[in-house]
């Protein structure tokens, strides 16, 4: 038993650097990532953001062009898994809406989405249900289950739920008084946030009701959004970077922009580790080939 252990120990010692590099314990990689991400958060480096993407510019331009009083529909379809990426985008767009004097209506297809709407309203508008303009300029419909069927019913009749998330009667709200059709076609713009999917807002709001739509989406689903750009959507924000770009465009760098140093360094460290792993693999393969010959 002891002899076997000794033999294993000897073979461990004989491992070349190239072999060791390919067998690093993932815990060390987690530790490196933790340090690389934490350092710029504690001591910001101020790395440049680079060129702002055309998707972000497109969304900014579309919202900026909306006249005062336009109704912007915010579908906050996100839970905790996407909030770290999408909440900064939501708040940046709300700040822009506020500047332009847009009317805002909030909805979510996920139960955990409600606190994120509340948080965004608190952070940007200063209050949610207690805001003096709540019911006039802002309405929070809240959670409607079933994205496709639930939203389709709501789009066909904005009073489908009867009351908002706080239990206030929608029909008595000033927000809805001047709306001509009381359907989704009264919206001037729609934006979805989250990691669910992007295509639903094009399929269920943009196409049937003729509302221009964009998104503040999680990076993981960005590939789903690109097929619709630029023909069906003027633009969308991709992950934290999209939020950071939007913050720069509205001239209010905030949460997302501050996180980009960590984001950039984390990517750099991953690229370096991928390169090291691949180079080590190729070199050890070449060495193995040379030894055989």
């Amino acid at each position: 038993m002891k002899g076997g252990g000794w033999a294993v120990q000897q073979s461990e010692n004989k491992k070349t650097l190239l072999q060791k590099l390919q067998e690093i314990d993932p815990k060390w990689i987690y530790l490196i990532q933790l340090i690389v991400i934490s350092y710029p958060l504690l001591y910001p480096l101020g790395l440049p953001l680079g060129t702002i993407s055309s998707e972000t510019r497109g969304l900014y331009g579309a919202i900026d062009a909306l006249p005062e009083g336009s109704i912007v529909f915010h579908a906050v379809c996100m839970g905790p898994a996407a909030a770290a990426e999408c909440q900064p985008s939501l708040e940046a767009i709300l700040k822009h809406d506020l500047e332009k004097g847009h009317k805002l209506i909030f909805y979510t297809d996920q139960a955990p989405g409600i606190p994120y709407i509340e948080q965004a309203m608190q952070n940007v508008l200063g209050a949610s249900k207690d805001h003096p303009d709540y019911g006039k300029l802002y309405v929070n419909i809240g959670y409607i289950p079933q994205t496709y069927t639930g939203f389709s019913a709501f789009a066909a009749d904005l009073f489908f739920t009867g009351s908002d998330v706080y239990g206030n009667d929608l029909r008595s709200m000033e927000f809805f008084k001047d709306l001509p059709t009381k359907t989704a076609s009264d919206f001037d713009f729609g934006i979805t946030y989250g990691s669910g999917n992007f295509q639903w807002i094009i399929t269920y709001l943009s196409d049937p009701w003729g509302v221009t739509c964009g998104g503040g989406i999680a990076a993981g689903i960005a590939a789903e959004a690109y097929p619709f750009y630029p023909q069906k959507t003027p633009g969308f924000l991709v992950g934290l970077r999209g939020g950071a770009e939007y913050e720069v465009l509205i001239g209010k760098p905030g949460y997302a922009a501050a996180g980009m140093d960590a984001q950039s360094l984390a990517h750099l460290s991953i690229i370096i580790m991928v390169l090291i792993g691949n180079v080590a693999f190729l070199l050890s393969k070449m060495q193995g080939g040379m030894q055989k010959t």
């Binding site: 496709y148 739920t161 094009i202 590939a223």
Partner: protein, 220 residues
């Protein structure tokens, strides 16, 4: 910040660190946090779903449209999932929800995701759109299995494979960005939202104790 709010933040920080402790290895704290998270999320979701259902139902009942109570009956039928003898009753609401969902999705989805996408893909206006068109066509041919890939078909399908690999690479890059954003959010919370930062030294001490105990176990 009130004492209750401080407790909530400390609890959230503790949960975050307990879940992150999985990176070291599975342990009791991780399991407690995992089960607490699942339980809370499901309870929260169930309550809000019930609230939303009541909100939607209320105006119809006030108008005397009692036919809407059928939806409540259908909802209750879901509970027969747990009764072996009456399990068949569970199938009725499931069938209705699935059929409605498929009906709504097909009616809208075919136009937006198939017909319009096919039209947009063939609209070549610049280099990007030309690349998309070539990528889509070659990518489809990669999965064409009716004929053996030979000659030009083989060339087209291998171009498709390159496009697919590029797409997967981009997807992985985007996922890395998404996951990094999550950890940035948590680290920020732990560092900058007092009193969450008080939990960091506690977690470090507990981790060191755990590592030391693991080391002692390994000793002969």
């Amino acid at each position: 910040m009130s004492a209750l709010e401080s407790l909530v933040v400390l609890g959230a920080a503790g949960m975050t660190l307990a879940l992150l402790s999985y990176l070291w290895r599975e342990n009791l704290f991780f399991r407690i946090a995992e089960h607490a998270y699942m339980g809370t999320a499901i309870a929260y979701g169930a309550l809000l779903s019930a609230d939303a259902a009541l909100r939607i139902l209320q105006p119809h009942l006030q108008k005397g449209e009692y036919i809407w109570l059928l939806t409540v009956v259908l909802g209750i039928l879901y509970l027969f999932f747990f009764a072996k003898q009456y399990f068949f009753l569970y199938r009725y609401p499931t069938a209705i929800v699935m059929a409605t969902g498929i009906g709504v999705s097909l009616a809208r989805g075919v136009k937006t995701n198939l017909l319009d996408q096919a039209r947009i893909t063939t609209l070549v206006t610049d280099v990007s759109s030309a690349l998309i068109a070539v990528g889509v066509i070659c990518g489809i041919f990669y999965f064409y299995a009716t004929m053996e890939p030979k000659g030009p078909l083989k060339a087209v399908s291998s171009v498709g494979r390159w496009f697919l690999m590029a797409a997967f690479g981009a997807q992985i890059g985007l996922h890395v960005m998404a996951r990094t954003s999550l950890i940035i959010g948590r680290i920020r919370f732990l560092f900058f939202e007092p009193p969450a930062n008080y939990m960091i030294p506690v977690a470090i001490i507990m981790l060191l104790i755990g590592i030391f105990m693991d080391y002692r176990k390994k000793q002969p």
